[in-house]
C-alpha cells in the first residue's frame, strides 16, 4: 500500500510549486478493459493495483508485487499481467474512456528488482513479445534514519515523463508519515488482506464506534450493538479503504471479505448472526477507577 501511494505521491508532486497536483487522478484497483488485440487477454477487464492519470493524454498503470515467490520460475504470471496492460486500455477518466498513451510500472521489492528485470527480459525474448509501451521496474524499500521513508528507485526502463523517470532513477524518498496523513491512513488495497488484519480493524476501529453510540449513562458490563455487513463494509471503505466512485471503480474492501470476517467473529463467540448479513456485536467495557 505504502509503495503504491508513494508512487502516486511522486507523480502528483510538483517540485516547482512544492504542492501536490490536484489535477492528477488516481484509483486503487480501478477496472480497465483490454482491447481485442491484447496479447494475453483480449476484451477482458483487468484491475491494476493503481491507475494514475497524469493529465488528459498521459497515464500510468502500476502493479505492486509485494509477495514475489522466492522461486523466480513462478513469476511468469506476473510478467503476463504486465503484458496485459501493454494495450489500449479503456477506463480512463476521459470522454471515450481512452487515453493517448500510458506507461507501465512494476513496483517490486528492491532486492528482487534486478532479478525481476532480467527474468522479464528473458521472458519477453523467449516468447517473442515486445513491449509497445514504456515500461519500467521500480524497486521499493524502507529507509530508516532520523525519519522513516519509503524509497522508490527505477532499476530498469523508461517513463514518458522523463523528469519523473530521471528522479526515480536517482531514488526518491517519501516520508511514511506524509503518506499516512495525505492519503488518510488507508489500510487496504485491491487484494484480500489477512483475515486477522481485517478483524483487528473491525474490532478496534469500527465496532468501537457502534458500541460508543449505544452507551448510556448507566451502563453495565459489555455493550451490545447490531450491525449489517453492508454497514461495516461501507464504514471501512469510507475511512480505511476506497468507496466506489463509479462503474469502473471498485469497492475496497469487498463485501465478501467483511462477511467472512464477521462469520469468523461468530465462530469465536464474539458476535452473533441474527439473520443473513445481520449480526450482533458485543464489546467488553471497563468500569472503575483509572488509578
Amino acid at each position: 500500500m505504502f509503495a503504491t501511494l508513494a508512487l502516486v505521491n511522486e507523480v502528483r508532486w510538483d517540485s516547482q510549486t512544492k504542492t501536490l497536483n490536484p489535477a492528477v487522478r488516481f484509483e486503487v484497483g480501478r477496472r480497465l478493459t483490454t482491447s481485442n488485440n491484447n496479447k494475453i487477454s483480449p476484451s477482458t477487464d483487468v484491475t491494476p493495483d493503481c491507475t494514475i492519470q497524469c493529465n488528459s493524454s498521459q497515464g500510468i498503470v502500476a502493479e505492486a508485487k509485494l509477495g514475489l515467490p522466492r522461486n523466480s520460475d513462478h513469476w511468469e504470471g506476473d510478467f503476463e499481467q504486465l503484458l496485459k496492460y501493454d494495450d489500449e486500455l479503456a477506463g480512463w477518466w476521459n470522454s471515450g474512456e481512452t487515453i493517448y498513451r500510458h506507461d507501465i510500472v512494476a513496483l517490486v521489492p528492491i532486492e528482487r528488482a534486478v532479478l525481476f528485470t532480467d527474468n522479464l527480459q528473458t521472458f519477453l525474448q523467449s516468447n517473442g513479445y515486445e513491449l509497445e509501451r514504456k515500461t519500467s521496474v521500480v524497486g521499493f524499500f524502507k529507509k530508516s534514519g532520523v525519519k522513516d521513508f519509503i524509497g522508490l528507485k527505477k532499476e530498469w526502463g523508461s517513463l514518458s515523463d522523463s523528469k519523473l523517470g530521471s528522479e526515480l532513477r536517482k531514488t526518491k524518498l517519501i516520508a511514511f508519515d506524509k503518506i499516512l496523513v495525505e492519503y488518510r491512513d488507508r489500510k487496504f488495497v485491491d487484494s484480500e488482506p489477512p483475515l486477522v488484519y481485517l478483524l483487528q480493524i473491525i474490532w478496534d476501529n469500527i465496532f468501537t464506534v457502534y458500541a460508543a453510540r449505544e452507551r448510556t449513562d448507566n451502563p453495565s458490563g459489555s455493550t451490545t450493538f447490531k450491525v449489517t455487513v453492508d454497514q461495516v463494509a461501507e464504514e471501512i471503505r469510507q475511512n480505511y479503504g476506497f468507496p466506489s466512485t463509479g462503474d469502473r471503480s471498485p469497492e475496497i474492501p469487498k463485501k465478501r471479505w467483511v462477511t467472512k470476517a464477521l462469520s469468523t467473529l461468530v465462530e469465536f463467540g464474539m458476535a452473533k448472526r441474527i439473520r443473513q448479513d445481520h449480526y450482533e456485536g458485543v464489546l467488553p467495557r471497563y468500569h472503575g477507577r483509572l488509578s
Binding site: 530508516s144 521513508f149 508519515d177 488518510r184 460508543a212 449513562d217 467495557r285 477507577r289 488509578s291
Partner: protein, 376 residues
Amino acid sequence: MKRQSTPLFEVTSKEIFSSLDGWQGLVNRFSDLRLDTDEAIYVAVVGSRMPLSQLLITPSLHGVKEIRKTESLSLFSHQLRGEHNKGKAASRQFLVAQTGHPIVSLVLYIGSSDYWRKGVLPLIESLYPKAAFPFLTQKEIQLTLGHLQKSLRPQGIRIVEFSSKKRLPGTARKKFQSVREWTDADLDTVFSEARDENIWFRSIKFDIVDINNTTPISTGVRTVLSKYGYFSCSGRFEFFARTLVRDLVEMSAKKLTFFSDRDRLTNPNHDPKPIKISFDRSIFVKSDQIRKLTEVMKRFRHGTCTVLHSNPYMHVSMVDNIDYSSADIWVLSQEEILVVPQLQASASALKRIVNHIFENFREGEVSDVKEQYTAV
C-alpha cells in the same frame, strides 16, 4: 514587612461556603478562614466539554447532591459510602466553580486529605471520559512553580518533599521505582537533580519562605502540587487563586483544546488529525527502544493494545475500554511518536494515552502534525 490583619470574625471550613457571592467574594473570605490542624484547602482543575456542575447531577452518580448554586458556583454535598471510609458513612461539601474557560472548572474542598483522596478525587475520576484531570509534564511543573516563585518575590519557594518515579536501568526487572523523598532545596536544584537522576515528579511539596540573609525561613504555608493538576495549601489561598490557579486553568484549557475534536468521525471527510510527540534527541536509534515502547503500550490500563508491527518500525492500535476511543501509534522516526486518532477518539482518552507514554516511556513535546507534504 506588611503585617496581616487579625480577622475580626474568623470562619471555619464548615462556614466558608455558607454564602455564595461569586468567586472573588469567596476568595476574599479565605483571609478569615481558620483551618483545623488536619485541614487544608484542596483545589482541582478539571476539564470537561459539559459544565462539571451539570455532570455531577446526573442520576447515575450516587451520594452527590447539589445544595445551592449561583451563576458560577455550585455547592455539592457528597455522601462517601462506608466501604471507602472504614465502614462509616460520611458526608462533606465541596464547591464547583466555573472559570473563564467554559471547558475548565475548579473543584474546591476544605477538610482532611483522607476525604479528598477517597471521596472527591475518585468521584471526579469516575466521570471519565466526560471529565478528566489534566496532566503536567515535568517541564510544565517547573514552569508553573517558577512562575509562582516569581510572583512571591521577595519571598521564595523551598521544596521539602516529593514523590516521584525513577527509571531503573535496563537490567532491572521492574521498569520504575516509586520514590518519596524529603529534602530542603530550592526549585532549580531539585529539578536539575531530577534530570540527572532520571526521575520525574508525581507530586511536589513546598513551603513559602522568607529569605532572610540567604537563610530561608518557613512562613508556615505549605503546598502540595500534583502533576494531575490539583493542589492543596495550608493558607494564602487569595494569593494562589490569582497565581497558581490561574496558571493551571490556562494550561488545562490549552491542553483540552489541543486534544479535542481529533476523532475522524466529526472531521470533514473523516480525515485523521494526528498528534506528534517529539523528543529532543534520537530515541529510536536502537530497536530496544521500540520494544520498550511496545511493552509500555501493552500495559495501558483499561485498554487494549494490538501490535501490528514492531520491527523495524512500530505500529500498534490502542483502544480505551472505558469509552471505546481508539488511536494508532506509529514510530516512523528516531525522534518522534505519531498518534493517529481513529473514528472515535475523545480528548480525555487521547490525553490518557499520551500521558501513559509520558509516564511510562518518556516525556516529549506534543504538537499537531503539520500538513506539509514534502517529498524529499
